[in-house]
Every structure is written in C-alpha cells, then in structure tokens.
C-alpha cells in the first residue's frame, strides 16, 4: 500500500496529468449523459402530456388509421375495471374526428377531439397552455378551444363562431357551430396547427356516436410503472366477456417515432462515449506502461530480494487503482457540480429554439442528474482504466531478475 502511494508521488506531473485525463472523461460523461436523459424526459413528458397519455385502450388499428368507426362501444364497462387496477391515477375518454372548419373568412381542415374537461385537466397540459380565453368547463356545450396556429390560419379570435363539417360515424354529414372560448399553444407546432378540442358529449351528439369513444387515456403515477399497468390491463382485455378487438398500448408504441429518435440519439451518444473512452485509455496507457518500463531495474532488484511477481502485480494494480480513483472522485465531484449548476440555470438554445420546439423540446435545456447518470460514465472509465492497467501488471511477470538488473 504505502509503496504504491509513494510510487505515485515519484512523478507528480505525470500523476496529475493522468488524474486530469480521467477526471475530464468523467466530467464529460456525467454532463452529457445527464443532458441527454434530461432532454429525453422532457420530450417524453411533453408528448405524453399533450397527446398520448401513458397508456391508451383503443380498438385495434385505430392508432394508425384513425377511422371514426373504430370505436369502443361501451367505454364505461372498461373504465370500471380500470379503476380497480393499481398505479392508475386518471382515466379519461377521448373521441377524434377529422373535419372541415370554416370561419367567416377561411376554411381549413382540422382534427377535432372530444374531451371530458374535468378529467382532461388532470392528464393533459393543454389546459395550462391556454394563451387567450379559458379552457373548457363541464357545463360547456358548443364551446371549443383551438390551437394557436390554427386560429391564426382561420383568422379567428375568442367569441368567434366556427362551422364544423365532417362525416359522422353512420356515414351521414356531421355539422355544428362552435364558439371559440380559448386558444392554446402547446409548443408542438404540428399539434397547434390542426387541433381543436370540444366537450365529449357535444362531440358524440354531432358525430352520432352514442356513448362510444375512440380512446381511453390512462395516466400512471410514474413512467416506470407503465409496463406493469399495461400488462395488467392487457390481461383484463383478453378475458372473455369483454368487448372484442380492443388493445392496450403504451406511449412508446403510440408514438414510435419518438422512442426511435431517442434510441437513435442515444446510439449516436454511445458511439461518441466509446470513442472518448478509447482516447482516454490510450492517453493514460502510457503512464501505466512507462511506470513499468522505466522501473525494470528496480523490479529486478525487488525480485532478487524475494518479491514474487504476484506481489509486484498487486503493487502495480494498486498504483493504477489509486490514480483512477483519485481521477474518478475528482471527476464525479466536478461533474455533479457542473451538471447541477447548469441544471439550475438551463442552457438557452438561442436561434435553434424554434427547431427544438418542433420536436417538443422547450427553449431551455436542463441536464438532469440522477444516480445512474452520475455513476454510469465513471464506472465505464474505471473499467477501461483497470483493463489498461492490467497489461503492465501482467507484463511484470515476464521480468527476469538478472536481465532486469543489467538493463539501464
């Protein structure tokens, strides 16, 4: 032990440089990982809160086709069993239809969603993103909240009338006149350009749906329970006696683009980290290798006076272990401080903000420090340095005392 510690101090400059290299890698890994995870969480959160919810129960195929006939006939039955499933916090019904929207000046296509205002407030962020007017209340009938970009295209404002023309579930023409009570801006341009929400009962009346709905939106108490809740619901749906053809899908199945783009970004990130690790490994390998070669003579002497090669290996591993630990502890400290500080202030995206918003990322990026992000990177650094350090530790076995002592 003591010997290892003293050996490290023999060449302070080299030691410091090596420690710094390790610390640098740790800081970078912690910060980047936290930033990625933080961004993903926000992306998922935005998508879940404005659109999908954590889990949906719907007719098979509805999520891709959005056909008005693919409806759940008696949603109340299913809701009753859902309320008994643990971890579910809120359940809400939605119905959607495509229709032609006309104001006094303009006509445009729009995606109408019928919602239950009471429940919707709990699961969706649309109510909080109202820019003008107010959100729907349970007593509303022919009221509507409209996406900000859609409102701009239609040239309408609060209080204006909006004529809806679409096809109802039975194939007849569905028509109604709505009054705009609010304008929301969810931050996702595509949604704001097409979406309009009206009370569910009015929707069902207009589109002749009876009591049928298209989606049962479910939110759980945490993202991590989604899988468990989903399998519980699926089991329930497959039991005989329930309505046929219903499926249960989680947010990642409902928006496959989101999860794939996250995987893609993460994959790119992992390649980046792997390259960084290899670079650091080669950078510090020299320190470890040289630590053996410049001391060939010394090792020869040690062996001659009875130190076994295993003992020398142990000393060497201890040395590199010390170095690595110093670097990693330093790196974790600095990395956490940096991450927490940036997490507090946030990274403004400047001119790229509009682009980010398209992907559901808000203007400020905040890295999120978790136990996993704080230790995954340093653990990888530790592993790769130890592997690097093994090479000289093995090499030392090949030293023969007599030859070694003759070496310069």
């Amino acid at each position: 032990m003591l010997m290892a510690w003293r050996n490290i101090q023999r060449n302070p400059r080299r030691t410091i440089l090596t420690i710094m290299a390790i610390a640098f890698a740790c800081v970078l890994l912690i910060f980047m990982l936290s930033l990625q995870i933080g961004t993903y969480e926000i992306m998922i959160d935005t998508s879940v809160k404005t659109r999908t919810g954590h889990i949906q129960v719907l007719k098979q195929g509805y999520n891709t086709d959005h056909k008005i006939r693919q409806a759940i006939k008696v949603p109340a039955d299913i809701a009753r069993t859902l309320y008994q499933t643990p971890h579910i916090t809120t359940i809400s019904f939605r119905s959607n239809a495509f229709a032609l929207l006309s104001s006094s000046l303009r006509t445009s296509g729009g995606f109408i969603t019928g919602i239950n205002p009471e429940e919707e407030v709990k699961i969706s962020s649309v109510a909080q993103t109202i820019r003008k007017g107010r959100y729907l209340t349970p007593s509303d009938t022919n009221a509507a909240v409209v996406g900000s970009l859609l409102a701009k295209n239609l040239k309408i404002d609060i209080g204006d009338e909006l004529v809806v023309l679409g096809s109802a579930m039975d194939g007849s023409i569905a028509a109604t006149v709505l009054q705009v009570t609010g304008i929301f801006s969810s931050g996702m341009d595509q949604y704001d350009r097409t979406a309009i929400q009206i009370p569910l009962h009015h929707f069902q009346e207009t589109f002749v749906m009876g009591r049928a709905v298209h989606e049962i939106i479910i939110t759980c108490d945490s993202l991590w329970h989604v899988g468990r809740v989903k399998s519980a619901i699926s089991e329930n749906l497959s039991q005989p006696g329930t309505q046929p053809g219903l499926v249960c899908m989680s947010w990642d199945e409902l928006t496959p683009g989101l999860i794939q783009s996250i995987q893609m970004d993460l994959g790119g990130g992992l390649i980046f980290y792997a390259i960084l690790l290899v670079m650091v490994a080669f950078s510090i390998m020299n320190t470890f290798v040289m630590a053996v070669f410049e001391r060939t003579k010394e090792f020869g002497t040690l062996m001659a006076i009875g130190a076994g090669p295993w003992r020398l290996s142990r000393v060497l591993i201890l040395e590199s272990g010390f170095l690595t630990l110093c670097g990693i502890v330093l790196g974790i400290l600095a990395g956490c401080i940096l991450t927490l500080w940036v997490g507090h202030t946030g990274i403004p995206m400047g001119e790229a903000e509009g682009m980010m918003r398209q992907y559901g990322i808000p203007g400020l990026l905040r890295p999120k420090l978790t136990l996993a992000t704080a230790f995954a990177g340093p653990a990888a650094v530790f592993l790769i340095t130890i592997v690097t350090a093994l090479y000289p530790a093995v090499k030392v076995h090949g030293i023969k005392p007599v030859e070694a002592m003759r070496a310069v």
């Binding site: 295209n153 980046f272 960084l276 670079m279 001119e351």
Partner: protein, 410 residues
C-alpha cells in the same frame, strides 16, 4: 539535421511512441468518420427537405408565406415565366404550382390534405413527385379529372386506383368548391407524412376548381448542381430576378422558406468543432504526458546540449519537431483510415431499421457519409495546431533546464 535528430529521438522508445501514435490515429480517424456520417445525415435531411416541394427558390405573392390561401396568388404568371426564362442560369428547372389546403373525402373517410396543382411535364424533375410511381401512372397534360395520391393515403381511404376521390377547398369567393377526381396513380416519398399530406392534380384542374383563371400560387425553381446550396450561389441568381420582379411578388430561397433547417445546419458546424475539441483534449493529455516524459528522462542530455552552447530556442524547436513528426505520422495514417472508411460506406447506410426515428428528424432513408475538403482541413488543423500548442509546455520545460543542475542529477 534537426529533423533527423528528432526522428531518432522519437524511436528511442518505440513502445511509448507506438501507443501515442495509435491515440493520434484513432483521434483523427474518428473525427473524420464521425463528421462524415453527420454530414451525410445533414445532406440527406437537406435534400429531403428541398425535394419535398421546396426547391431552391420560390417566386410567390409577398403575402403568400404568411397566409397561404388562394387570395394571395400570382395573378399574371406570364410575366414571371418570361422573367425566369431570361434570368435563370443554364440547366435550372422551374415550374408553376398551385398550392392550397383542402379536404379529401370518399364514401367512408375524410382527411385534411394539401392540394397541389402541377405542370405534368415539368414537375417530375423538380420534386419527389416523379421519383417512384408504385401503382398506376403520373398525370399527363390535359388530364383534368385525374389525381395522383400518396401510397400511404390509399390505405387510409380504403381505396384503390380507378376509384373516385372528392376534393374540397375554398375558392376566391370564400365559397366551398368541390370536385370529384379519379385516382390515376400513386407516388412514394421518403416520409409517410408527406405521402399522406399531398395530392396532385393538373394545374388546369386546380385553376378550374378554384376559379382563378390562369393564376398560380408560386413558381418553384431548382438550380443545377450545387449552385443553390449556399447563399452566395443563390444571391447571384436572385440578384437579376429580384430587380425585375413585379412589386407584389417576392423571391424566397430555401433558407428563407426553411429557417429552422438553416439554423440547424449552422449549429451543426459549431457542434462539429466542439466534438473535435473534446476528442482532442482527451488525446492531448496523453500527448503532453508522453512528451513530458520524453523530455524529463533526457534532462541530462539537454543539460549537456546547453552546456555545449545550444540556445534554448533551438531546444524548443527540437522538441516541437519531435512532436510535429509524431502528429504528422498519426494524421497521415488517420486520414488514410478515414478515407478508407468513407470508401467502404460510399454505397450509403440504409437507415430503414430506424425509419420512424429518422423520419422524426426529417431525414431520408439512405445516408451517404461524405466530408468536404474543409472538414479534412479542420480536423488536421485542430490536431496539428493545438497539438503543437500543448507541446510547447514540455518544450519550454526542456529549454529551462540549466546545465549545472541537470548534469548534477543522475
């Protein structure tokens, strides 16, 4: 003489030199490979965006962009046509289009779409419209009751070639105009959302539907080769066009039309530089360490050289030369490896396994990695420039060695 000395000094410890060389090679190689891949992705995104009915330049009514409705149209396209014929460089393609939002419906389904009135002869060269025709045929001139829709839209409407599709939109009198069309063919685009959004009818049919006589929404221009890729090339073309344009029209480049993409491309260059720096710093620790060791173990030698009258500046140059030779060797091998990688992947990387992910980022399905001369210069300049800079530290260290101290040491 000095170079020879530096060369010999480097190989005094081949193992150490080997390790740091490998580090430099990997550094240069990964920088190049990574930037090639990213550039390929960017190019794919840009090409995809330009191909999705954007083109390099669009001539449109000054109010059209803010409010893309039928009121904001080009009322006298003949003068624009003449202007474009006279001022565009050779090889440039252009065509008129009508673009309005509307609704498509058949017996069971209805959906919001964008109606595109196109010139059947010119359009296929301008956008994805002519790329692949999986079913049926494209429009021909005078085909005023035919419509071409996206492959994915067919499934959405549960319909097939030969069936009818009704288009509804708002005409100039703010009345709803509708007309039935027969599906003649389908097109395939890189992105499903594009296939579901656009339907194509002939220019004449669109004019009749909207009641706008010979008016059009815009003229789309595609420049030859890479003339339209940077603002310099665009401005050269635009200069003459803009001067003669009627006052109520404007000429917009893809940079105006897709500001987000332009911002993204700008950010990309900065991001690349950042990535070079990070890799370099990881490499620099090893480089400085190696050089420092190489210098410190030769303390006696440097002391002797100084005692013999060698000036400190010469010693610095000597150490730096060693460093430069190291870097150069590493860079040459790294660059060769980078080029080799590029060659191996020159067929392009199929992103189909991540189709929805790449669609989310607006990227095409094929990514062909490439780098520009500028990238190679950047990579080499970063490694070389900063490498020499950090090696100044051990070099100065060596120059500071005083003969007496050094020779007193064992």
């Amino acid at each position: 003489m000095q170079i020879l000395m530096a060369w010999r000094n480097i190989w005094r410890n081949p193992k150490r030199t080997g390790i740091i060389l490998v580090a430099v090679v990997i550094g240069a190689w990964t920088m190049l490979a990574f930037s090639a891949l990213s550039r390929g992705m960017m190019a794919s995104t840009l090409e995809n965006a330009l191909n999705t009915l954007t083109g390099h330049i669009q001539i449109q009514n000054a109010l059209f962009r803010e409010d893309p409705s039928v009121e904001n149209r080009i009322t006298h396209p003949a003068s624009v046509a003449q202007l474009l014929e006279q001022n565009l460089p050779k090889g440039a393609l252009w065509a008129f289009r009508i673009q309005v939002n509307g609704v498509a419906a058949n017996a069971g389904n209805s959906q919001g779409i964008t109606i595109m009135g196109i010139d059947p002869e010119k359009e296929p060269q301008l956008s994805f419209y002519g790329d692949v025709t999986p079913k049926g045929k494209l429009l021909t001139p005078g085909d005023d009751h035919a419509i071409v829709v996206g492959e994915a839209l067919l499934g959405n409407f549960e319909t097939k070639i030969g069936r009818k599709l009704v288009l509804m939109t708002q005409d100039t009198n703010l009345e709803t105009a509708s007309r039935a069309f027969k599906i003649k063919g389908t097109f395939k685009a890189e992105m499903q959302s594009t296939e579901k959004q656009y339907v194509f009818i002939t220019l004449g049919a669109a004019q009749a539907l909207l009641g706008i006589k010979d008016g059009v929404s815009l003229a789309c221009v595609r420049l030859p080769d890479s003339a339209g890729m940077d603002s310099q090339g665009l401005n050269k073309v635009l200069g003459s066009v803009r001067q003669n344009l009627p006052r109520d029209l404007c000429a917009l480049t893809w940079m105006d039309l897709l500001p987000l993409l332009k911002g993204y491309l700008g950010m990309f260059d900065r991001f690349m530089l950042l990535w070079y720096l990070v890799i370099f710093i990881a490499m620099a620790f090893g480089l400085v360490n190696t050089m420092l060791m190489a210098v410190l173990e030769r303390t006696r030698e440097f002391g002797l050289l100084k005692a013999l009258g060698l000036k400190p500046a010469k010693i610095i140059i000597n150490v730096l030369l060693e460093c430069i030779i190291l870097l150069m060797t590493g860079l040459v091998v790294g660059n060769l490896l980078g080029l080799l990688t590029l060659y191996l992947f020159s067929g392009g990387i199929d992103m189909a396994f991540m189709a929805q992910g790449s669609e989310f980022w607006g990227m095409g399905r094929m990514v062909v990695p490439f780098f520009t001369l500028k990238d190679i210069c950047y990579v080499n300049a970063v490694i070389m420039g900063l490498g020499v800079l950090v090696c100044l530290y051990p070099a100065i260290k060596a120059a500071r060695i005083t003969p007496v101290e050094a020779m007193a040491r064992v």
